[in-house]
Structures are given as structure tokens and as C-alpha cells.
Symmetry: C2
Subunit: 163 residues, 2 copies
DNA sequence: AAAAATAATGAAATGATATAACATAACTAC
DNA sequence: GTAGTTATGTTATATCATTTCATTATTTTT
């Protein structure tokens, strides 16, 4: 996170934000010698435009609208690629996907999911040094991947609920 | 946790362990005025016997073997009840369920999932005081539930892999 | 530049997970 | 014992994800 925790819940120039991530993604793929093909790029774009997590079939429908094929594998393949390259994260609690907003960092993300507006904010997880990391170390468990998600109500929705 | 972190990965008298949790569960239900009906009890028992997380349909099959009906809702209803009362946890990463080993504590659990032997160990999450809790507080996000899961390789499987 | 190897996509089918909806039965409280 | 509530029976369907094999596009090797 570039100094901005939970970007989704803060005001920012979203258009610029998307373009910037898109460019980083493109550079990253070139650097790694992998191809950000049209479907993959479109899926990333769809996810970037949305601060709510999108399910594979929602993405699939939007792909179809954009002229791509509409069989499940087209969405899943693109998502698998994007997830593998850290450009997109899967939100386990929602069986859905969000674009990563700092794709360069090899990070373990954490999410805050607003159960009211369904926006998902990404923040950084402190895997090794946290309780989980400590316990893991104590029992010799070698952590390869972490899922850290919090469900709750964002500040905006709390205010709305009161009024 | 009764002083034992990640019980599943440690040696212990599993039979006694199950019976003890079963008794706690029964007492808990009486105390709360809810019914631990035969299906519910059987599902809890199945999960307690297993240190690997069981999917709903696996449970369903075992229920059928034990003479219960075999439609999905019978498993899901029992699981919903057990989860609601903190006797069972859902492991999001696996779309599967594990029995809780300290049902009395109103806790937010964390899991360590061995991707080799598929055992799942439960440990306690330190939700409020961790990074996630701090970030949440900073942006006014009200956490209602957390999902904290680590995938990796347990100590036993690491040793086996070497030999 | 042609052939071979690799990576990506097309397409059909199926598998796995989960819920909706409505009817019936079993307990609980009065 | 009737009313209210909770739990179960049953059918159908929704939702999420993968397998498989054929075809096309791109890259590498020669």
C-alpha cells in the first residue's frame, strides 16, 4: 500500500488509480516474459473498475458483453493467470475476486469486506510477525500462503445506518 | 486453547479429547436451551473423529451410512447450527468444516492447513490487537468476523519429505 | 522461413458446493 | 390439547469450478 491503507474506503481519483495499476501490470508482465492477452487485460480492467469483489460468473457475463466467449473456463483461466501473477486476489469468504492495488509488492494481502456496501479494501497482512506466524514457528509449520479476511461494516455504512 | 496450540499436529489421546469436547458441547447446548439433535450430534462426532476438514458432501455420505437422510439440506442445516453455536468452524480456503476444540471460548479461530496431510490445526486469532485490528480501527471499520487461515506444511510432513 | 515446441483459446460436458421453497412432523409452553 | 415454534423431509435449482480434448497463436529452434 502506498501509504494509503484500505484505499477502497477512501476517496481517490479512481480513474487515475486504475490506469496506474494497469500500467504497472503491463510492465510487470513484460518483465516476467508472460502475456497479458486481451481477455486477461479485460478481466483485470473489470476488476479494477469495481471496488466490490466480482464472482467468476459476473466477470464471465461482462466478458461476453465485451465480445469474448462465455464458457466458464475463459473467466477462470484469466483469473488463474492474474492470481498467479499477483495482479488479482481471490477473496475466499466471497468466492470472488478483486484487483490488487499494489501488484509490484510480493505481499500477503488482508481484506476488509463491508457486509453492507460489499466493498472490499485491501491492506497488508503481517504474516510472519503476527500471532499466526509465531504459533507456526513454534510448532514448525511452514506457511506458504495466508488468507486474512475481516467481515464487518465500513465507516461510511456505519454513518448511514445511524441516520 | 487449553495450553495446547495446534492440537491436531500434536500427539494426544484423541478418544478422550473427542469425548471431552462432546460433553462440553452437550452442556453448552443445554445451557443455551438449544437442541443437540441426533443429526447434529452425529455431524459433530464425525468432525471430531477427523483432524482433516470434511466437506459437506462427505459428511452427507457418512450420515447416510449412519442411517440418516441424504439430501444436502440435512448436512447443511446441521452444520449451520453447529457453526452458529461455535461448535464447528468453516474453513473457507477448503470449503470444509472442522470441529472446534475449545467450544466454550468465544473466540476468533485461526487455522493452519497442511497441504500435504490435509490436517487442520486450530489456534487462536488475535483479531483486535493484530495488524488487521489496528488498520480497522484506524479507518473506523467495525469487524464482525475474521477469517484467518494459513496454508503450508506441518512439521511431520516436512520431516517425511526429507527422508 | 519452415518445423517443432510451447502457450493460449474454443467448446462440451460434468463435478462440487450451496440454497430456496414448501410440506410435514416433533417438541414446548401455555 | 391447542398454538406457537423449531426441526426435518423432499424436490428442485442455484452457484461455483474443473476436466478433457481439439484448435489456434506465439515463440523457439533449426
Amino acid at each position: 500500500m502506498t501509504g494509503v491503507p484500505a484505499q477502497a474506503f477512501s476517496k481517490h481519483d479512481h480513474g487515475a488509480c486504475c490506469r496506474s495499476v494497469m500500467n504497472t501490470a503491463r510492465r510487470l508482465c513484460v518483465a516476467r516474459g508472460v502475456r497479458l492477452t486481451p481477455v486477461r487485460e479485460k478481466v483485470l480492467e473489470l476488476l479494477l473498475e469495481s471496488h466490490v469483489a466480482l464472482g467468476a460468473y459476473t466477470i464471465l457475463a461482462r466478458l461476453a458483453d465485451a465480445g469474448f466467449r462465455s464458457q466458464p473456463p475463459v473467466a477462470y483461466r484469466a483469473l488463474d493467470f492474474l492470481v498467479a501473477h499477483g495482479l488479482v486476489h481471490r477473496v475466499e469468504k466471497l468466492n470472488a475476486y478483486v484487483a490488487c492495488n499494489q501488484p509490484q509488492a510480493g505481499h500477503s494481502p488482508a481484506f476488509m469486506i463491508c457486509s453492507h456496501c460489499h466493498q472490499v479494501a485491501e491492506t497488508v497482512g503481517k504474516t510472519r510477525s503476527g500471532v499466526l506466524g509465531k504459533t507456526a514457528q513454534a510448532i514448525g509449520f511452514d506457511i506458504q500462503h495466508t488468507v486474512i479476511e475481516a467481515e464487518g461494516v465500513c465507516a461510511t455504512c456505519q454513518k448511514r445506518a445511524v441516520s
